[in-house]
């Protein structure tokens, strides 16, 4: 089974209580979690990635346990080997496109050098059409290009699954349509499960093998 997720968390803030309960399992290679903002999609994705805490539950991807509160297991985000594309891409502003993409390839306390050459780096820069932009900084490139950098950065380390948080929300709609097709083409060439969260029905139509609807902290 690819996805096996069952997580719970209660948020309490300023007297308001929000209960998140996300349970799904299945073999869809492209899973889309669809729902209005505030439904708890983002938190669910963050919990899966190990970026947010769950009160209880388990996350198992392709048979690999990432967390299981019953057994006291909770891998930190850095050990989960997941590709994650943030909503506004979270590119490192102090690093070039090349350094951003290579970020996960360099271990240790120092950022990858500006001239780093690495076969995987070259491959992903080429695949996503970023070779010409490699020496630019994130603020010097367009929104669509930034999204490709974020994708390349997430994929270069050969992750176990790709998680995307509203990856098209920051783009205008013609570009959105084009990039959906690009992402779909990319994923079909890779043997990589994807979980995408969005509030946009069109994202789900274009990309999903299976759609899960979420509202007020629950899957419907």
């Amino acid at each position: 089974m690819i996805w096996d997720v069952d997580v719970r968390r209660v948020f309490e803030q300023a007297g308001r209580r929000f209960e998140l309960q996300a349970r799904f399992a299945g073999d869809a290679r492209r899973l889309v979690l669809l729902g209005p903002s505030g439904a708890g999609k983002s938190q669910t994705l963050k919990i899966i990635a190990g970026l947010a805490r769950a009160d209880a539950g388990h996350v198992r991807l392709q048979g690999r346990d990432l967390q299981d509160s019953a057994r006291g297991l909770n891998l930190p985000a850095r050990e989960r080997r997941l590709g994650y594309v943030f909503q506004d891409y979270a590119l490192f502003p102090h690093l070039t496109v090349r350094q951003n993409v290579a970020f996960g390839l360099a271990g240790g306390w120092r950022n990858p050098p500006r001239q780093l050459a690495h076969p995987e780096l070259t491959r992903w820069l080429q695949t996503l059409g970023l070779s010409e932009l490699a020496e630019h900084y994130p603020e010097q490139i367009s929104g669509g290009q930034r999204q490709r950098v974020a994708l390349a950065r997430a994929l270069v380390g050969a992750p176990q699954a790709l998680l995307l948080d509203e990856p098209f929300a920051a783009l205008d709609s013609p570009l959105r349509r084009r990039l959906r097709q690009e992402l779909l083409g990319l994923l079909q060439g890779l043997d990589l499960p994807m979980l995408l969260i969005t509030h946009d029905e069109e994202d789900a139509e274009a990309l999903a093998e299976q759609v899960l609807r979420m509202d007020q902290g629950r899957l419907l």
């Binding site: 990635a49 850095r78 080997r81 994650y84 490192f92 502003p93």
Partner: protein, 227 residues
């Protein structure tokens, strides 16, 4: 020029050490205050800011009480290690460090708070340990703000007078820094000496402030802090 040379070098030595110590202390405390949630955090911030608003002579007096020959820390250092801090250049370093400390930790805190936590999360997902996240993302993005604070601290330490005089005194060639030397020269009616000293001090401070201004966040395109 001879009369300005010795105190200038001593001043730069004292201010340099005070700045180096504040690099460690100020960045550490600034980071802790920016990132750790604990009760009394703002109270601690206010207490640590006191050296900026209290009269330097009051600070000097506190220091005398603490590290003086009869003070608890001073007596212990003397008994255990034979170290005396009072009336030494090291004493002047301690006074300058404390006076300049708020400038560094406040800048560092603001700079760390200006770093988007999502960038640190992105680095974690990409496999980095917490220390690697700090050195590869947080510190580079906060660095300009911290550096601006350090330069202000250096300027403040260069001009430090009250606490230094109380703790280190005014021993020519040993603890007499520029600002203390100016005071002594004026008291002794040596106007020519005072003029040279004042000029040298002013130029030093202007150079430091110009450097700090160039590094201030918002003025630098491509700086990490503005975002």
């Amino acid at each position: 020029m001879q009369e300005a040379w010795v105190p200038l070098l001593l001043t730069l030595k004292v201010a340099g050490w005070a700045t180096a110590l504040n690099l460690l202390l100020g960045v550490g405390v600034g980071f802790a205050l920016a990132r750790l949630r604990f009760p009394g955090r703002e109270l601690l911030d206010a207490l640590l800011t006191l050296p900026m608003v209290m009269p330097p002579t009051v600070l000097g007096y506190y220091l005398l009480v603490l590290i003086g020959r009869k003070g608890p820390l001073g007596a212990w250092l003397q008994a255990e290690f034979g170290i005396t801090l009072i009336f030494t250049w090291q004493g002047a370093v301690i006074a300058a460090t404390i006076v300049a400390f708020p400038l560094v930790f406040k800048s560092a805190r603001a700079a760390f708070e200006g770093v988007d936590p999502q960038l640190e999360q992105a680095a974690r997902v990409l496999g980095l340990s917490e220390l690697a996240v700090f050195f590869r993302v947080t510190l580079p993005l906060a660095w300009r703000g911290i550096l601006a604070g350090l330069l202000l601290a250096f300027a403040r330490a260069t001009g430090e007078f009250g606490a230094t005089l109380m703790v280190a005194g005014s021993i020519p060639g040993k603890t007499q820094t520029l600002s203390v030397a100016v005071y002594e020269a004026v008291q002794a009616g040596q106007d020519a000496t005072a003029n040279v000293l004042v000029l040298v001090t002013s130029i030093t401070c202007i150079v430091v402030l110009l450097s700090a201004g160039r590094l201030a966040p918002g003025r630098v395109a491509g700086g990490g802090l503005a975002r």
